[in-house]
Amino acid sequence: MNFYRYASPQTFYPLAGRMLPWFVMAAVLLAVAGLAIGFVIAPTDFQQGEVYRIIFIHVPSAWMAMFVYLVMAGYAALTLALRARLPAMMTLALAPTGALMAAIALWTGALWGKPTWGTYWAWDARMTSTLILLFLYLGYLALVSAIEDTQRADRAGAVLVLVGVINVPIIYFSVQWWNTLHQGASVSPTGGSSMATVMLQGMLVMTLAAWCYCIACALHRVRSIILEREGHSHWVRRLVAQPARASSLQEAENRI
């Protein structure tokens, strides 16, 4: 299969459209399975009771927040190296989803923290790092939306993401350093005890569900971005001008 064919927005658009329903279905099925394992099948935790179940959402979202940023960095590198349009669009498409994952991780972390140690926010290393990661996402989105010229916005955003990805290990390390020296609360979702296999399985399934969800979101969003940016080109104009297949009698009647 010639991958270069799909490097143009025009050919990628329909491909993304075909892939999208599969990833949505996969996300839904995996989420149902994962939530079933997490909230029904997995046993009550010895130390934390039922509250611990939130880790089935917290941990996958935290992992995805990090992973999405890495994928964005990969596309950013392609944007700068190839001066291509589509990798930049993928970076832009992934960013809001990554930010959402980080926000969910923070929110579920707070919800889990309150009943566990009595406070919503405890400045522990992982949560603080996730918060900083959220700001890295927001900074990227702010920069790209502030620049009107899309070519400059794409390249500037790509540089920022690459600078960010190099800094993330340094930031994580420094926050860990800061936290251990100040002997802050040490958060471990597993409560320090080894996890039961079924819990691990649940987290894995939920992580895969989150992964499919992120891909589905990115594909959907990149299609919108492609239409928006390539709006002047002939293929988009043809697409938009086509009378859509009437999904209802009402629409068909309106058209007549």
Binding site: G139, L143, R155
Partner: protein, 238 residues
Amino acid sequence: MSATARPAASDAAATDTFSPFGWALRRDLTLALRRKSATLNLVGFFVLSCMMFPLAIGPQQAWLQRVGPGVVWVAALLALLLALPRLFEHDHQDGSLEQMLASGRSLPALVAGKLLAAWLVSALPLVVVTPLLAMSLYLDGSSTVLLMVSLLLGTPSLLAIGSIGAALTLGLRGAATLITLICLPLFVPVLIFGAGAVEMQAAGLSPLAHLALLAAVMLLALASAPFVAALGLRTSLE
């Protein structure tokens, strides 16, 4: 990245002894000396923001002594954030940045010269004023010295990382707030190692590890920032 090479600085002429770094350094220092108000404003901001803390949390010696190093560090960080938009903006507006790009000289070297000038003019005055602030926050002599050392090691990193943000946001409306949003997460390690060093000593432990990490970040930042900022400048001017 552009796949083709930039002209080497020596391409311009065989007998050229021109140093882009020295040219930019001398130029920016001369300009700063003619526009002293910028430095004075920065120092004023630094001092005022430090003064806000005792006013806000009360004048008890124990409290101020405890938070002092952190307060000075945050104030210095914010002051440098103020200085960053000016790094390239004037040159961009009057066209001299475009001339620098068109000259064929090494842009990273020019940026490095500007960075050193900015550090001498914006960060060094803050370090000089720090003893006064340290005194107002009840810090003892050794803490003050360590605070100044940590600032000397940390402020170059802040300016270097900040120059990347300044380069990317060149000419944009609201660039100052954008720079803040972009740069603050990247400043976190410097802040942690810098303020942490002083706190370590206050706790009776050795600050050497923190200082070593601070120096490591500084070397990494100084080595890479001119190139990344140069790329950012070219992107912004396209």
